[in-house]
């Protein structure tokens, strides 16, 4: 597997706080890489550094063979790295279709308007938002807004998609629908880097998982390895009962595979 994204020794400080310190990992093509960690571990900050919202204080980020450490977010998108937001940012007074068209227009291919609209429709079909294409984004439910986030990012035709807690706040039916979407994205050849708190989901979806705690990388590996890692159990999970539950879950998925 060749590395699509290579993060090397990245550090990001806010004043005295080391939000992310000396984190390195890589992500292969066609892979789903999970990113977990307790609240405040620096997961979203790491996403913001990867897609250029923040410049790291130290370290480099290479995407598809190109150094993107100093690139602003809008250039990162053109190179094929799109993302969603944990706190959804819909363009409220624009229709769902217009929202997704923006993604297609200014995405990787910088499509002209009429082609972008076509791509937007395709993406809306794919995430099940087509029936709501003409409604204003503000009138969507939270589940709808989460899907809109994914749709906008997908419309950019990325090579790598960063998903920041797309499952948070969804009910079980919506969760399983969204998991289906993520699988479908991976199957279409797009690599995925996702933050998730829903353990069951991320354990079953990810090829590998990176664990972050207090801004530092604690562990990295296959889901079942990470779940058994004593350091992770101690520092991240804290509670031995949760650890036990996790182990059983990962065993269950391992046998299911």
């Amino acid at each position: 597997m060749t590395a699509l994204l290579e993060v090397k020794g990245v550090t990001k400080r806010f004043g005295g706080l080391h939000a992310v310190s000396d984190v390195s990992f890589s992500l292969g093509e066609g892979e789903i890489l999970g990113l977990i960690g307790p609240n405040g571990a620096g997961k979203t900050t790491l996403f913001n550094v990867v897609n250029g919202v923040y410049k790291p204080d130290k370290g480099t980020i290479t995407f598809a063979g190109k150094d993107i450490t100093q690139c602003p977010p809008n250039e990162v998108v053109h190179l094929g790295l799109a993302r969603t937001h944990q706190i959804v940012k819909p363009l409220q007074d624009m229709t769902v279709l217009e929202n997704v068209t923006v993604g297609a227009c200014f995405g990787r291919d910088y499509l002209p308007l009429h082609q972008a609209r076509k791509v937007a429709w395709e993406v809306l079909e794919r995430v099940g938002l087509a029936p709501r294409a003409e409604t204003l984004a503000r009138s969507l439910t939270i589940a709808g807004k989460k899907r809109l986030e994914v749709a906008r990012a997908l419309a950019a035709r990325p090579k790598l998609l960063l998903l920041d807690e797309v499952l948070a706040g969804l009910n079980p039916t919506e969760v399983s629908y969204m998991i289906g979407i993520v699988r479908d994205i991976r199957d279409s050849g797009i690599s995925v880097f996702m933050i998730e708190h829903l353990m069951q989901a991320i354990m079953s979806l990810s090829n590998r998982i990176v664990v972050l705690s207090n801004g530092q990388k604690l562990a990295e590996g296959r889901p079942e390895e990470v779940a058994r890692d004593p350091q992770v159990i101690e520092a991240y999970l804290g509670d031995p009962d949760i650890a036990e539950k996790l182990r059983q879950e990962s065993d269950a998925t391992a046998t299911a595979d």
């Binding site: 602003p72 809008n74 998108v77 940012k89 363009l91 923006v102 200014f106």
Partner: protein, 321 residues
Amino acid sequence: MIFRRPVFWLTLLFAALMIWVPVTGNRVALREDLVLVAIAIILASNLNLMIGYTGYVNFGHIVFYGLGGYVGLYLVTGRQWNLVWAALAAGVTVSLFALALGLGILRLRGAYFALATIGVLLAVQSFVENFDPWGRSTGMYVSFDSYQRLGGARHALWLTYFLVIGVMALSMLLSLAIKTSKFGLGLFAIREDEDAAVVLGVNTTLFKAVIYSISAFLPAVAGALMFFKNGMIDPSVAFEFMLSLEGIVMLMLGGKGTVVGAALGGGLYEKLRSSLLTAPKLSNFHLVIAGGLLLLVVLFAPGGLVGWLYRLAPRARKVLE
């Protein structure tokens, strides 16, 4: 295509009427009324590109109109340029000025940007008040032979009127063209959520500076034409802060973000204003009305007249863009 949009044809029809009505019967008084309506529409339409499309409130939009007037008059009178070339040169100069300025002050957002635009207006005004080639606070007069070169004053005034109507039509068509373009879509994204727009791939810094510059062009051209028509310019008439504020009222009244709304608001407000101004006992009372109107619109019809129409007939959204 823009030709398929009803607003395109409505604009042309409106411009044709604005020319045809005063020309038949040579109604000069009516022409003088209508030229003010046209100027109001030009200012409101171009202000709309910033406020309605991009979500940046510009309190100092009038600075482009005034500067355009100064550059235009200077070229016509001081350098004996042809009026049309002088007006175009004024537009280009002021646009470039706005581009350079925009790259700086558009780093500010929200109230800070709005404050900076007031600062720009005041700074430019004091600069001009102290600028010798432009006659300091006494301003400049159009030399008589500038009118002679256009075939006499009578002829020159009609020509100026036609040009102003042309600029008015262009302002509306420009608004329409931007609204239906990819560039416009990017601006709307900035208006809705600038951070989201960047992450979606919009080069917001560039887009904002470019639209700020574009919104300066036609008002500057109009300023050159209008002050040529008036025969003189001085800092107090060129950089009238009240007119800048009234531009915002026009926009809110008609409906920001829409081509028709900006034109409607500009036209209606100017008619109201001139009837109040000419009523003998009501000196400056129009400002009271303007404030009251703004308050009512913001409270009860934030979408303005056009937004209200949209609510009555949602289909109107497709026709009256």
